[in-house]
Amino acid sequence: MRIGVFTCHCGENIGKTVDCPAVSKAAADFPGVVHSEDYKYMCSDPGQNLIKQAIIEKNLDAVVVGSCSPHMHERTFRKACSSAGINPYMVEIANLREHCSWIHDDIPSATAKAIDLLRFAVERVKFNEPLTPIKVPVTKRALVIGGGISGIQASLDIANSGFEVILVEKEPSIGGHMSQLSETFPTLDCSQCILTPRMVEVYQHPKIKLMAYSEVENVEGFIGNFKVTIRKKARYVKDELCTGCGLCFQKCPIKKAALSEFDEGLTTRPAMYVPFPQAVPNIPVIDKSICTYFKNGKCQMCKKVCGRDAIDFDQQDTLIEENVGAIIAATGYKLYSIDKKPEGSIYQGYGEYGYGKYKDVINGLQFERIASASGPTSGEILRPSDKSVPKKIVFIQCVGSRDESKGISYCSKICCMYTAKHAMLYKHKVHGGEAYVFYMDIRAGGKMYEEFVRRAIEEDGVKYVRGRVSRIYKENGKLIVKGEDTIAGVKVEIDADMVVLATAMIAQQEAPKLAQMLGVPYDKHGFMLEVHPKLRPVETSSGGIFLAGACHSPRDIPESVAMASAAAAKALVLFGSDILEREPVVAKVNESTCAGCLYCRKVCAYNAIEIKEIKDRQGNIQKVVAYVNSSLCQGCGTCNATCPSKSVELIGFKDDQIYAQIHAFSED
């Protein structure tokens, strides 16, 4: 085998701690290597040309590139080699940047390690074999999980391109958190006014199948070919009959049965309800846990008043299977709670702010409801405890966010802006009221954002105090807010009527479960991970699965919408071709040695192992062996490690390829 080794300096990134010329020189002496050179930027056009030229001139049949992580440029180099006539799978990458130069300081030991890494790759490539990608068809339908603004945007973009979309929302209505908001920064336009038309568009779109009050239960398959199981939860209302007249829930006798989710617990709702008047679909649900009929078999008031006979107490959850080619996760966020023991939360509560025991200490979404014209106070700023107008109001930013002691190190990004908006709305609505904002930094990066914050301070007279609040407690009917202004170095103690906490944006509690189902990595906070933070921000490491909105990280509406459109575009790229090429990393059985024990079948997570009968010339079964259905196999290699007779091998990661690497180790 004639191998060429190419060592990249990556500008200074590798070259600074790894002596690249020395590495290249050492590699030239490896057995089998006939060409070795180093260059400043191997991934650049001239760099790629060096490789191509060497392949042709030196008649190479395998190439090893020492460069950045294979996750970065493996594709680039495979393509370059392929264009010079080498099979792309005859290319190996040694990770000299992420796994060497960037993590070590000492030049001699980093250089020695780089030489090792190249030798491993050279030994491995000797056992590589030319492979051809597997071709699979593409199902040109998309699943969008989550019906907030991100999910709505992604669905509309895909549907408007002519492809079918299934939009799954776990709540009874789509709209998400945006439907709860009063006005939006920095333009102060009414949130519902801009959102509702989009919601209706989704509902009426012939290409969108809306499944509200439903949850994704299972995901199988792979890019272009997912099989999804969706649980449609029983509403106890037949949606095909319901006209949304509302008579049923108006007559529901269990009026104040539960705290309204939509109003963030500031109001109550009946046992039968639609979350809010503009709900889409406008079909009520019965909350089984509190409905009198479900509790003791009596009542049935809703059924009596329904002119269409749409109430169905016997309705059951149904499981629906759908085939899709792409999935967009748009599950959004929820707010961190300061309560002592929020159910299932991974974060600590805020005892110093009262663990949620003071009624007039509320969070940002509650303030949105109070400020909203459709909210419990019709937009009048009244505090929850006694419905009086708060004369002095304190806003506290970074509650939970940037607070490692509570378990959250990140910035929630949107709080600076919405707090400025809240303070501004308060000043507009309560004349003569005093508004204080406690902040650590003001992060107002965005078009017209900084100007907006300055307006709150300069024109509306909101008093900004730089410092965190140590404690809030109640005394003589006032909320005592103990703070400090670190700029003046003075104590700031305010006796407030109401306090609004800008609590952190956190991932939905079920997000990790969904991520596991989708095979998408997620961080310790439950936010899903993109495959590359700069260049592939909406793609995940699972092909065909894309991210939109706050399920990825805290973000505001315009960013969520942009990300949703980007995710839709990625899905549409996929739908642009009928056939998809997949990595040929699949398992293959050696039928002559396979004993047919089928242990491999037991451990295969994809049901990719089938039973094949080997027959003699008369058609009598001689033995059974395992057979890998390569369109189902995802290439994990568990069967390979499990097989007692080593009769099944993972192409691309065969035993001898890995042994070659291990053997190379003994040579240092």
Binding site: S405, M440, G467, S470, K482, V492
Partner: protein, 176 residues
């Protein structure tokens, strides 16, 4: 200044095993400090002095002596920075470098306390108060509280001594 900053910072880190640069100056410590009204500089500013390497400003502030060690700041710090430990370290450095304590009363109290400890292995209130008064020359303070404390048997006339008091003395001498 850079060099000074680094050695000062290093000494603080050596004693406390925590890096003051982790403090992002939110001021929550100062906001909740019970002795805030009696401080020359709010606690967060003392951390800032150290971050900037302002050795004299930090060590000559009365704040390092006025800290009551109640741990309110440490327990509420969003960055888990143990400010009480940090203040202890600054007091130690100030003493090592013989920097005049900005609050002599607290310093003399501790000194008197240590003297009792060295002598008896335990703190002996009468001795403590006597030594403290000798150090401060403030003989009138507490003159009204003292008789009642005696009457109620709160302050005993004779010191309680540890048998191994020589050993305690040795421990103290070796540890300092």
């Amino acid at each position: 200044m850079e060099q000074m900053r680094d050695t000062f910072l290093k000494r603080v880190i050596d004693i406390t095993s925590q890096d003051p640069s982790s403090c992002y100056q939110c001021g929550k410590c100062s906001a909740g400090c019970p002795v805030r009204d009696f401080l020359d500089d709010p606690p967060n500013r003392i951390v800032r002095f150290v971050q900037l390497g302002l050795y004299e400003k930090a060590l000559s502030s009365s704040s390092i002596w006025m800290c009551a060690g109640c741990l309110t700041c440490s327990s509420r710090c969003p960055k888990n920075f143990d400010l009480a430990k940090f203040m202890d370290a600054l007091r130690q450095i100030a003493l090592q470098d013989k920097i005049e304590p900005a609050d002599k009363k607290v310093f003399k109290f501790h000194k008197a306390f240590m003297k009792q400890l060295k002598k008896y292995g335990r703190s002996y209130e009468l001795g403590l108060i006597r030594d403290y008064k000798l150090l401060t020359g403030d003989f009138l303070q507490d003159i009204d509280a003292a008789p009642s404390a005696f009457m109620k048997g709160k302050i005993s006339i004779a010191p309680h001594k540890v048998k191994e008091k020589e050993k305690i003395k040795k421990i103290i001498n070796r540890a300092i």
